[in-house]
Symmetry: C2
Subunit: 472 residues, 2 copies
């Protein structure tokens, strides 16, 4: 049925004057507000990569599938100069699902995940008495050789913080405890997960062994299991607690990883570009949704939204780094390859997908006008201006190496360490409303930076860009 | 340092008059209020059994350790007539951790758990195309033979309800879908977990195959994984989705399980006793904290609290049933063995450890005075009186077989199906404050029932109890 004539007239009267002309380009503010109302691109990225690729352990074929997928996604979204920049890395894989069984006095099984770069127990496992330390400091205080033949258990607890600062406090349990225990003779180490949830999902992550200390097997128990083991010590009346551990990670040798880059080319491509970073790889046990599929979606969505406003003055380059989790291999490789190409400013999204609550830069004192301009522009999204000096994310080595400008858009990390490095890092954990706020804030900030005519770190007039390597 | 004299005088003046005489017995109301202020026994039970025993899959040596542990706990708490009553059962065990891998078009691994009484794929697994059904009704509507060689996937979603009523709506996905799919030729079935959380912890549980339908392999995907598989169907553009399943459960044949009983003997042990039930077994993947260690702790704590008030008129019997999860074997065995011993009233705790919010009985119309008395006594704990007819818990077959009196103390089940039959059924999920409210309400109600002089179902004077079997 067609509409009655009266209705058609009413409709035409109500329509805006430009209804039949092309939509005008939005202003930057409108583009940011539009993202708040309904992001399309960031969700599409993170839904797509978690569904069509899933986990992307660094150096594996899954990570390679992730690179191909991401490059194709950038192509579909209209990015230019898309490239995969490969590099070689020493690749560790987790092996079969780990087992941690209490043999006596209270037989039961715990959920465990091996830590990155640790050794295998072999398929038959190792069985030894467990010695408990409440903190890394207690472990450090243990006499040399006192752990000979034992499994060390470090039960340090992590609590939630909005800014993630407790990661620095609790992280050493994972980063250094197994190395310290090994140096005192331990045959293996188990830790309470460096995580703030209470689910049977262990938090994996990287660990380091000091020079000259042979890596041992080491794994993270889920928090409920670690709490159970603590209770066992209270209930065992001094009887030894014996655990059988089966962890079978292995090194594959040198394999290929890579970074994916793409650009929104600026009106003046000789000016140093704005670099937006995230990482593509994830630990094997999750799907890399909050860490860091969301981050890649946010930065790419912001770059694309800015392009809708009009071609920016500066090129916006996105860097989807490879192999971040296992030692920043992608960040190091990118800096090495591109160190002679100045970056105007670097920003990274790698702390989940919850609301941005604070803006920091490292040019608050050297370029106060720009800092204030950005601060004023993000107030309407509930973002305060901080006085911390921005340090940049893990994949911004190049900017730190160049001593360049950095902006940190601080996300609310209250939930982040519930999910970090666990099987639970899945799409359902992303709140679409908070994700949109991220995209809106990023759109606003990147739009300002990409159209900035002076040097961002100092506010001084921009000198002619040095020639790009190989462009002569 | 000793206290100055003035302080000692002040202390002695402040002390109550009976400070140096034995505490008088509390009233029932005081005993219940004391439990609210600080339960000792229920937490001790559930902490102990989850720490010292852990999972207690029916028919296994772990369940046997659970019986021995529970009987010893009852002994330490002063229960009498403690007995383990063994029975034989057909025992199913889950085998190695299950695997569910999408082979194409989007290779990745899902978290899966086999369902009870299902078959093995063999260690090499089976690989087949997946066919998705949104509901069991859609599966029922599939033509006969249409699933030949396929894996059926039923993606019905469960939502939270306070009274747990959605279990009846969502449960058939687990209870009957694999049987229906098998009858239409499916080689295996995977379901979205019958559970309300969003963690990578699949919800296992029992399943039934109709007479004449050979059991197939079947498993529950975690909810995030099931959601991922649904997204794959939307993104696959009609391309077939192929899954490799490895599930290796097996039947051990007939093994021993058993019930554990204990009593607070009443002043008149010829009167029918009050029967308090729970179950000792758990699924293998969790530790049986909310299902149902907490329940056993609550009922035993209540019985003991009532005994502190003074010897009750009627005997209070606790029944820690075996093998509930896998088919109510303990409930059936108990009824068969004791059917000729009348029970005055039965109550069960088997719905977690969250707050009791409603009281139901099946004697509201036949014995309104008692129903009202109980209702009035629990109001101060925030418990309303319901009009539903109490049906009793799973382990109260004997009371239903005797057409006896039943009381249901309805717990808040809002969180229950987040945890039900998952690895996450661990001690940390129990809120000690809500657990205490359970013990307080149970103490109050059991204290009333165990001192009731008339028949509980009808309020009529109690006839002489028939002779107890074998007591002549």
């Amino acid at each position: 049925m067609t509409k009655p004539l009266a209705a058609l007239i009413a409709l035409s009267l109500a329509a805006p004057a430009f209804a039949n002309t092309p939509s005008p380009r939005p202003t930057l503010e409108q583009a940011a507000d539009n993202a708040l109302g309904g992001d399309v691109h960031a969700w599409d990225f993170v839904e797509g990569i978690t569904t069509e690729v899933g986990q992307r352990q660094a150096g594996t074929e899954a990570e390679a599938r992730g690179r191909a997928w991401a490059a194709e996604w950038l192509r579909r979204k209209g990015f230019q100069n898309i490239a995969i920049e490969p590099f070689m890395m020493s690749t560790w894989v987790p092996g079969e699902p780990g087992k941690a069984e209490i043999v006596s006095p209270f037989p039961q099984s715990f959920a465990i995940a091996p830590l990155g770069d640790t050794a295998s127990t072999g398929p038959d496992g190792i069985t030894a008495e467990v010695v408990m330390f409440k903190t890394v400091a207690d472990l450090v205080a243990a006499p040399e050789g006192s752990l000979k033949g034992k499994i060390a258990f470090v039960s340090n607890t992590m609590t939630r913080t909005q800014d993630g600062s407790q990661y620095g406090f609790a992280g050493p349990t994972r980063w250094v405890a197994s190395g310290i225990a090994a140096s005192k003779g331990a045959v293996a180490t188990v830790i309470k997960s460096v995580g703030t949830d209470s689910h049977r999902n262990p938090h994996t992550g990287g660990t380091d062994f000091p020079e000259g200390v042979k890596p041992t097997p080491a794994g993270a128990l889920s928090n409920p299991d670690a709490a159970n083991l603590e209770r066992m010590f209270r209930r065992a009346d001094g009887k030894p607690i014996t655990m059988k551990l089966v962890l079978t990670p292995r090194f594959l040798g040198e394999t290929e990883s890579g970074n994916v880059v793409g650009e929104i080319v600026g009106r003046n491509p000789t000016l140093p570009p704005v670099l937006l970073a995230c990482h593509l790889d994830s630990w094997w046990n999750g799907t890399g949704a909050i860490d860091d599929g969301a981050g890649c979606g946010i930065i790419a969505a912001a770059a694309r939204n800015v392009s809708v406003v009009g071609q920016p003055l500066r090129t916006i380059r996105v860097l989807f780094a490879g192999a971040e989790e296992v030692g920043l291999f992608g960040s190091v490789a990118y800096s090495k390859a591109h160190i002679d190409e100045p970056i105007a400013v670097g920003l990274e999204s790698d702390f989940g997908a919850d609301r941005i609550w604070r803006f920091d830069s490292n040019f608050r004192t050297s370029n106060p006008a720009l800092h204030k301009k950005i601060a004023a522009a993000v107030v309407r999204f509930g973002v305060s201006s901080g006085t911390d000096v921005a340090g940049g994310g893990a994949d911004l080595n190049i900017v730190r190496d160049q001593k360049g400008a950095l902006v940190d858009l601080q996300q609310d990390g209250t939930r982040y360490f519930d999910l970090h490095h666990t099987p639970d890092d899945t799409l359902d954990k992303i709140d679409p409303v908070q994700l949109r706020q991220n995209v809106a804030v990023w759109t606003q900030v990147v739009g300002i930076l990409a159209n900035e005519e002076t040097a961002i770190l100092t506010g001084t007039p921009v000198p002619a860009a040095p020639p790009i390597m190989g462009a002569k």
